[in-house]
Amino acid sequence: MDLGDKLEILAAAARYDASCASSGSSRASGAPGSAKGGLGASRPAGVCHSWTGDGRCVSLLKVLYSNSCRKDCAYCVNRSSVEVDRASFTVEELVSLTIGFYRRNYIEGLFLSSGIFADADIVMEKLVEVARVLREREGFGGYIHLKAIPGSSNKLLRKAGRYADRLSANIELPTASSLARLAPQKSGQEILGAMRFMSQTEAESREDSGRLRSTPRFAPAGQSTQLVVGASPEDDRTIIRLAGALYGRLGMRRVYYSAFVPVSTDPRLPILRSPPLVREHRLYQADWLMRFYGFKPEEILDSGEANLSSELDPKTAWALRHPEFFPVDVERADYAALLRVPGVGVTGAGRIVSTRHVGHIRPEDLGRMGIVMKRARYFLSLGGRPLSALDPEGLRLQLADGGAPQASTWDQSPPGMGTLAAKAQMEFSFA
């Protein structure tokens, strides 16, 4: 099997992992302590290098080290019981591919995961070795995201965090019972244990580098995780609360949601005609509300409903449930209140606040500031006068987007730190 064949197999095997972000880290080239120059740098905003036919940003060379796996998780394309071509890279092959692709500006770096082809420590050692050679021998300064293999030793995880910008352990299913049913060889305790260790070590490292700048940072872009949506019966409320806890208690930088793609006829799995993309999109919108719009997890579904509306985005749905909060006055409301208005995004709210300092805002100015007036006008007032009457029942139909296909919400940079293009996309998809 030649390198191209391996690459095809191990890239296809990794494509169900939604994460491909290269953001959150800043690093220059050159091996630590070495005079030898190197190649590559990473920057906090990350860079997209292409977009696949599914609209997903390609930022990293995302591959598995091996798709041989001892585990037989029902939802996984690489599970042990399925007959597929199996392949494994060597460390040198991966180093050469990463450097070659990076030099041509195809990628920002490497995202390396693996099937569990041996004991957790042996698999983790291979991933760490690739990162070590890239950093220490090649002086590579590009982005490295390594999968933390649950069950591997803390010593190896610590070493991984020394070379990687980001680490991730996928939680995959939102409850222990679903994990036991669909992935019985996986241990929720091991996954959470790895997450806790990485969270604590990252916090310690941040504290140490605050005291002494030369202290090497542990996974400076933090950790992320992924949940498969639709393979198990949990509702959106459960998923949102879990995500909120992961952000709040484990300092997770990103929770990715991956709509379940039916890849097998395993009777434990639901029969779906297509992946639940609208549901995935709504969960990403809810996620952004928690991360950038000041919403608490329990606010997003606060009316006893178990699932997000497929017709209304979660911010509009919240606004229609809370007419008492509106109208929000453009001249007086603070930034946090403006962010709660449907049609007002992070950029628009910022523009309203900055423009108020230098002059009066007229209704016709709002559209020019990037406010989506066909939504926002029902929730805003100017000088104490509502721009349009708020009739929640009538608006419910009028503001429904029917689960409009998403702009790429997987890997956008956070507002305030991302590229302008990413910010513009975020405004487009969400405001």
Binding site: G4, L7, E8, I9, A11, A12, A14, R15, Y16, A28, S29, G30, G38, L39, G40, A41, R43, V47, S50, W51, T52, G53, D54, G55, R56, C57, V58, S59, L61, K62, L97, G100, F101, R103, R104, N105, Y106, G139, A259, V261, L277, R351, S354, T355, H357, V358, G359, H360, I361, R362, D365, R368, M369, P405, A407, S408, T419, L420, A421, A424
Partner: protein, 267 residues
């Protein structure tokens, strides 16, 4: 807005260079006045960029501070930058945009001189909107091409990326690629404007015309084994269950596909 507005009278002219625009911007700011129209001599010529010449420069400073402009413009740029780095940034981006927005930009500079730098965030102003949108288009293109530039070995082995940007941004990409290439040399060629910016033996230089195009990789040999691996990777990583070509084209407009080996030729 405040009542007093800058005077708008007559026509100001400049040679189309960045230095020229910086000098006009400073004049508008210092005098609190702006012209009704601006004559851009360079925009009326065709082989304009030969004027840039092959002079070495430091790219990190070129589009982030006034220190590399000619002396008179450098002083003007420094004064503008000290007053408001955001305003100076708008001047740079309007120049890069090659859009005929000089009158709006100069009115903004004049108004900022009269009322303070915060006028540039007054999004109720039509001049602010015009200038800010053009600057945003430039910034977006810089962001895009930082990802979409594709390097391959040129005739002398130097890794080179051909570009055909809407705005004159090739030099503005240099700081990013300098950092990215670390200790290695590289070149960027704006095929549309026949301009090249290269780092060779650690030194930067600019060239134009045929000299610039000489950096370009031969299209016949550019498609090598590594390119083929990348094409195979790109194809394998797409998830067929989620196909959404409209979204792909919105995020990666067709006009950039020409130099992307993974997708060139696919429409």
């Amino acid at each position: 807005m405040r009542a007093s507005q800058p005077n708008s009278r007559g026509t100001w002219s400049y040679d189309g260079s960045l230095e020229g625009l910086v000098l006009l911007a400073h004049k508008a700011y210092a005098e609190g006045s702006a012209p009704e129209t601006v004559a851009n001599a360079l925009a009326e010529e065709s082989e304009l960029f030969a004027l840039l010449g092959p002079a070495p420069f430091e790219p990190a400073a070129q589009y982030s501070s006034p220190s590399n402009l000619a002396t008179a413009a450098e002083n003007a740029g420094a004064a503008l930058c000290a007053f408001s780095s955001e305003l100076f940034g708008l001047v740079l981006r309007i120049w890069m945009s090659e859009e005929a927005l000089e009158p709006a930009l100069l009115r903004l500079c004049a108004e900022a001189g009269l009322h303070g730098p915060e006028v540039i965030v007054n999004h109720g102003s039509s001049d602010v909107r015009l200038v800010a949108r053009a600057a945003l288009r430039v910034n977006r293109e810089i962001d895009r091409l930082e990802g979409l530039a594709r390097f391959s070995p040129g005739p002398n082995g130097l890794f080179c990326a051909p570009l055909a940007p809407d705005a004159n941004i090739a030099a503005a990409l240099l700081p990013h690629f300098s950092r990215r290439f670390g200790s290695e040399d590289f070149a960027l060629v704006d095929v549309k404007r026949r301009l090249a910016f290269a780092r060779q033996n650690g030194r930067f230089g600019a060239s134009s015309g045929d000299e610039a195009l000489a950096y370009l990789p031969n299209p016949e040999t550019a498609r090598d084994e590594e390119t083929e691996l990348w094409r195979r990777y790109f194809k394998a990583t797409e998830n067929p269950a989620r196909r959404n070509p409209d979204l792909q084209r919105r995020l990666m407009p067709l006009r950039y596909w020409r130099y992307l080996p993974e997708i060139a030729g696919a429409r």
